[in-house]
């Protein structure tokens, strides 16, 4: 089922031509209107005329989060402020905030991409979509909201949190599609079990989850606890929000809305493009964005791309599930550790709950990594020897995957904070 069949099944040749045309247009606009890009291009000795096809994109300068901060709020905008109809922003928890303005057409594109995405998961106007993403400056809530509205589905704009109410409305309104972060979906599944509601009695059939990395094992757990088929939606506010890419029923990667966002995968060290199938840093260039078009924006998300045809009929490039962030990576005793690796292991151990907290510290010159986990109630035993067996089993599995020694600590049920948005999984106490 397609929302926009001509575009979603466009031949690669036609897509190439469309992307080349649109890139030329975008480069022309930013060169003329944005001093930041004009200067960068002049430093690199290139002019808009040097960009003839999409392959010429490698000549263009990169954009980073720091560039967005340095040019906050509107330094990178290509249109006058009067053309803005909405301004999203990041919370700025790690420094200065960043802003992302949209024109009327930008928001139309946003809604179009999200409508395509929901349609790709099998959603129709008959569906009731419960939007449990946060509403506000974060693009998750309003993004899915507008797309589902465009699709003609019934939107329940409940936003994140208020779990009891989520469950009530899910039953009363016969919600068929749930959209939220995967960690919140997991939490809702637990809450459902605690309330004694059989997920099979719900009308839920589709889950659209994104905004944080999640593992295959987490998908299985969510699908079981909520009785849904889970789809991975990808996006970031700097580029648009959810709907930049979406997984289809074949679950073999996420279809990128390539007519609007041109993807590249770069080697994080050399910043050179890598071959299809190789993991690297995902980078996007806006092809149609009006308010604040970005060239080669480095997302810090790690993924790979393939252009092989998908059985669903869509011809777009597909990105692999994001497997981590180049800046979330912890370096512990010289070893690269991704929280997602730990999550995958925990989901394979039935005795452990999938909620965890990683505490990194330094004793003397030695980095330590402590993993706090909760034992699943079903496996709690009153004999220390058995509890220690479980603890050692978790430790052995984690150690063998990470290849460094981890301190595994069993903690009381519910001491690890459940998240209603993006989960806080790592506390780094090292002062280096």
């Amino acid at each position: 089922m397609y929302w926009n069949e001509p575009i979603e099944t466009l031949s690669r040749d036609h897509m190439h031509a469309l992307q080349s045309e649109r890139l030329k247009d975008t480069v022309g606009r930013v060169y003329q209107n944005v001093e930041f890009y004009r200067k960068k291009m002049q430093e690199l000795g290139i002019e808009p005329g040097d960009i003839k096809t999409i392959e010429d994109i490698v000549k263009l300068p990169f954009t980073t989060k720091k560039d967005l901060r340095d040019n906050y709020p509107f330094g990178l905008c290509s249109v006058p402020k009067s053309e803005f109809v909405r301004i999203h922003a990041s919370s700025g928890t790690t420094g200065k905030p960043t802003s992302v303005p949209h024109t009327r057409k930008d928001l139309d594109t946003f809604a179009e991409c999200v409508a395509r995405a929901i349609c790709c998961t099998g959603g129709t106007k008959e569906d009731v979509v419960q939007v449990a993403y946060g509403y506000g400056l974060f693009t998750g809530g309003l993004g899915i909201h507008d797309g589902a509205t465009k699709l003609g589905a019934a939107v329940v704009p409940i936003s994140g949190g208020n779990t009891r109410n989520q469950l009530t409305l899910m039953q009363d309104f016969e919600t068929s599609i749930l959209a939220c972060t995967p960690s919140y979906a997991l939490f809702l599944g637990e809450a459902l079990a605690e309330a004694g509601v059989d997920p099979k009695q719900l009308n839920l059939r589709i889950g659209i989850f994104g905004a944080e990395p999640w593992s295959q094992e987490m998908r299985t757990k969510i699908e079981e606890s909520l009785n849904v088929t889970a789809y991975d939606i990808y996006g970031l506010s700097e580029i648009m929000g959810p709907g930049v890419a979406i997984s289809c029923e074949n679950q073999n990667g996420l279809h990128i809305a390539e007519d609007h966002f041109y993807p590249e995968i770069l080697d994080p060290d050399t910043l050179k493009p890598v071959a299809d199938g190789t993991i690297g840093e995902l980078t996007f260039t806006h092809l149609t964005k009006e308010a604040m078009p970005l060239l080669r924006y480095r997302t810090r998300d790690l993924s790979s791309i393939t252009h092989t045809p998908c059985e669903c009929g869509r011809t777009s490039a597909r990105m692999s599930k994001v497997c981590g962030r180049s800046d979330d990576m912890l370096i512990i005793r010289g070893v690269n550790v991704f929280p997602s690796q730990i999550e995958s292991v925990l989901l394979e151990v039935p005795e452990a709950k999938p909620h965890y907290l990683i505490i990194v510290d330094r004793q003397g010159t030695m980095d330590t990594i402590e993993l706090q986990v909760e034992i699943d109630d079903k496996y709690f035993t009153d004999e220390i020897a058995d509890l220690e067996k479980i603890r050692k089993k978790i430790k052995q599995k984690i150690d063998s995957v990470l290849r460094i020694g981890v301190i595994v600590k069993l903690v009381e049920h519910k001491t690890i904070q459940r998240s209603e948005g993006k989960a806080k999984r790592v506390i780094d106490r090292r002062h280096i």
Binding site: F380, E383, I384, L387, K409, E412, H413, K414
Partner: protein, 131 residues
């Protein structure tokens, strides 16, 4: 006799145990015997209480990991050699004691113990005239 024991997972940090006793106090539950098995990070609090259902509900509401286990309570005479007789009886039927706790007062010495097979233990203890 077989009785119900309530076990609670508690982190080995100051104040954690009191949170449990606070909850039991509020639920008006009386504890008649208890034991704690501890590691550096956590412990298992095992208790014999007067109203196990009330205790279970009170702790479940607070999301504690709990377990109700059937354990043996043996009322031994408070004389030298009683515990030795109990263990001998259990050994005769090949039963290992996972854990136990007890005290003596007023000529009686109740002993609470956990084995893998309560029935087999009871038969052995009856034969040794301890049940």
């Amino acid at each position: 006799m077989i009785i119900k024991q309530l076990s609670v997972f508690v982190q080995n940090e100051s104040g954690r145990l009191m949170e449990v006793t606070e909850a039991l106090h509020e639920a008006n539950v009386n504890i008649s015997a208890l034991n704690i098995a501890e590691t550096a990070e956590y412990g298992v609090l095992r208790m014999i209480v007067d109203d196990i259902e009330k205790a279970v509900n009170a702790l479940k509401d607070l999301s504690y990991s709990i377990k109700v286990t059937d354990v043996l309570c043996v009322e031994m005479p408070d004389v030298p050699g009683s515990l030795n007789r109990v263990l001998k009886a259990l050994l005769s039927v090949d039963l290992n004691v996972a854990y136990m706790y007890g005290y003596s007062n007023d000529g009686k010495a109740p002993l609470i113990l956990k084995v893998v097979d309560n029935e087999r233990a009871q038969i052995a203890l009856k034969e040794a005239e301890l049940e």
